[in-house]
Point group: C2
Chain length 376, copies 2
């Protein structure tokens, strides 16, 4: 078995997932390295943040530099210098979220225009499996259809049917030695469709299962209601992955409902807007109140940014568009998010997850009361 649940606390679980390039401790936040790099960071820095696994994207890597180039350089690990586990997304999300590039979908696969050069491209489950084989990732996601929230029930129904059809084909396709493969359930927040998708996907021999098509525009309450029954409906002996979630509240709420893995561009993207994630909410470093603030982004934080630099310096860097500012905020935001899941894992192990979640959420809610800094 590649996955072992080591402790449970309510529906929350702490486990380990063994892969060809090392162990992933769950609950696990996976920093996003779409194009083979977690933006601005060296692999050794990502590792030092405490991240066990990073994401790559088969869609983007297929187009640039191409799986042939990556394979020729020894695969994604050798190419990027990240020696730990890598999960590759299939590109389904990209194909179906970039709607104006979509040309045709049928049971065979999907035809769309490359965002890089506009050329027509055809993806099938077999082709996606082959791309991921050549990339050599540790966990390969199935090609799925991820509709945005608000589309018709008919469209959701088609997505569920084709996602299942494709998963059956991808499950039988060749994969890289030791590569794990995860199936994906769709169905939006429609209980009947989501249940149908889960019932179908769990009949296939996947090493883990993901909930896709959530956090795509529906309300937080609808999302949590769905996860509340859908996560426990996935096999207890396999890792459960919520695709595309990265805010502190969301992470804790889905962990509480039995999710083991999640990823999101939120920590890195928030850095690029000049903002820091903290236990008391976001700080927009462009705000003039930080101009002379000698404190670190967060007092108790041990990240490389907080160990060495003041809010005033980071604000200066951000305002001057100095890339070191973006880098320091990226380090901090990923540290914050990874630590949140490490804390959740520790709490689950000692049966204190509910208290942990309550405390973190209460501190977040109290955020705006933080004292501004006054010199004397």
């Amino acid at each position: 078995m590649s996955f072992v649940v080591e402790a449970t606390d309510g529906a929350a679980r702490a486990g380990v997932l063994h892969t060809a390039h090392g162990t992933i401790r769950t609950p696990a936040f996976m920093p996003v390295g779409t194009k083979g790099t977690v933006k601005t960071l060296l692999p050794e820095e990502v590792r030092a943040l405490g991240a066990d696994v990073i994401l790559g994207n088969a869609y983007h890597l297929h187009f640039r530099p191409g799986e042939d180039v990556v394979a020729g350089l020894g695969g994604l690990h050798a190419f990027t210098g990240w020696s730990g586990p890598i999960l590759t997304d299939s590109g389904g999300f990209q194909v179906f979220s970039l709607r104006d590039t979509l040309a045709q979908v049928d049971d065979e696969g999907v035809t769309f225009r490359s965002i890089y050069d506009g050329a027509l491209e055809h993806l099938t489950p077999e082709r996606v499996a082959e791309i991921q084989l050549r990339l050599g990732s540790d966990i390969a996601m199935c090609l799925d259809i991820c509709p945005p929230a608000g589309v018709s029930r008919r469209e959701h129904e088609d997505a569920v049917r084709r996602t299942q059809l494709w998963a059956e084909r991808q499950a039988g396709a060749p994969r890289a030695p030791g590569q794990l493969r995860f199936g994906i359930a769709q169905g939006g927040t429609d209980p009947e469709l989501r249940a149908r998708s889960i019932e179908g996907i769990v009949t296939l021999p996947f090493d883990g299962f993901a909930l896709g098509g959530l956090a795509v525009g529906e309300s937080r309450a609808e999302m949590l209601e769905t996860v509340g029954w859908a996560a426990p409906a996935l096999p207890a002996d396999r890792p459960r992955y919520f695709m595309g979630l990265g805010d502190a509240e969301g992470i804790l709420e889905v962990i509480a409902r039995g999710i083991d893995m999640f990823d999101c561009v939120l920590p890195t993207r928030t850095a690029r807007t000049g903002s820091a994630l903290t236990s008391r909410g976001r700080l927009n470093l462009r705000n003039a109140r930080f101009a002379r603030d000698p404190r670190p982004l967060e007092d108790s934080c041990e990240c490389p940014a907080c160990r060495g630099f003041s809010r005033a310096f980071i604000r200066h860097l951000v305002n001057q568009n100095e890339l070191l500012g973006l880098r320091l905020l990226t380090l901090h935001n990923l540290w914050f998010t990874v630590r949140l899941t490490v804390g959740a894992r520790d709490a689950i192990a000692c049966g204190a997850f509910e208290r942990y979640r309550t405390n973190v959420l209460a501190t977040l809610a109290a955020g705006r009361e933080e004292e501004p800094w006054h010199p004397n």
Copy 2:
């Protein structure tokens, strides 16, 4: 004495300059950190490259974030996290090279418009001394007038006269505890004016002397001819600083003529264009021939980029505008430039500088013969 010449080889010198924040081994290339950051890098990375000293710019730091802010945070070292020596340029170069912002120059000082908000600003030698006092740099440069190449003799004559007048005033102005202060000679490549400027400036009690107004558009031959007699005309017991030079050939040629310190944005700026400096010339990583090249930027290089990454990966990052690509090229280019001066220093110490210079220049000249990479 803050400066000790430890070895000479022809006109070339190896020495040490002691400052309030540590020792600078010369010949020394100083990475440029205009706004308090060597672009994209953490202070610890700059130190690991072997750089002893970095540059800051009083003009830019005065406007953003302002010397009051920096002083309030404990000075430039505490603010930026760079604990080693810092040299601050006076801003003279900026004021006089951004000609359309220049409003008026007279014997009192210079009036110009800020490039940040267009506001009128007045700088005098006393004001520049005060800004640098508040920044707390280790070496403060005098306010000088640096005309571009090709201006009239009359303009050069005015620049020499006012640079001297201002140096006399700045020499008497308060400075930070332990702060060294360097005078600057102007005069372009006009032997009479350059000699007049040197004769005047060396009568003042400066801790070092710089040649300004060279490498500003005149030919390399004219520049070297001037340095050939002007560097030895500066006091032998003080460090000699050539302002604004960073290419390998230029560095070796001015070391051969008795220069101890130099700075330039070339290594960092070249990185931003996607190019690597190597002992065999520049590599433009955007070139398709690197797409599958598994070699490091330079075979023998021990820099963090060459230790971990292929040309193919760096090319991918550069082409995708991933900031890690810029960061890796910045690390490599600074490493290359700092190592070049470390090599020169070692060669001077054992009386082999001429051979070192000849070998480096011959390899550079042979650069274009490098074999392209072929699989199999």
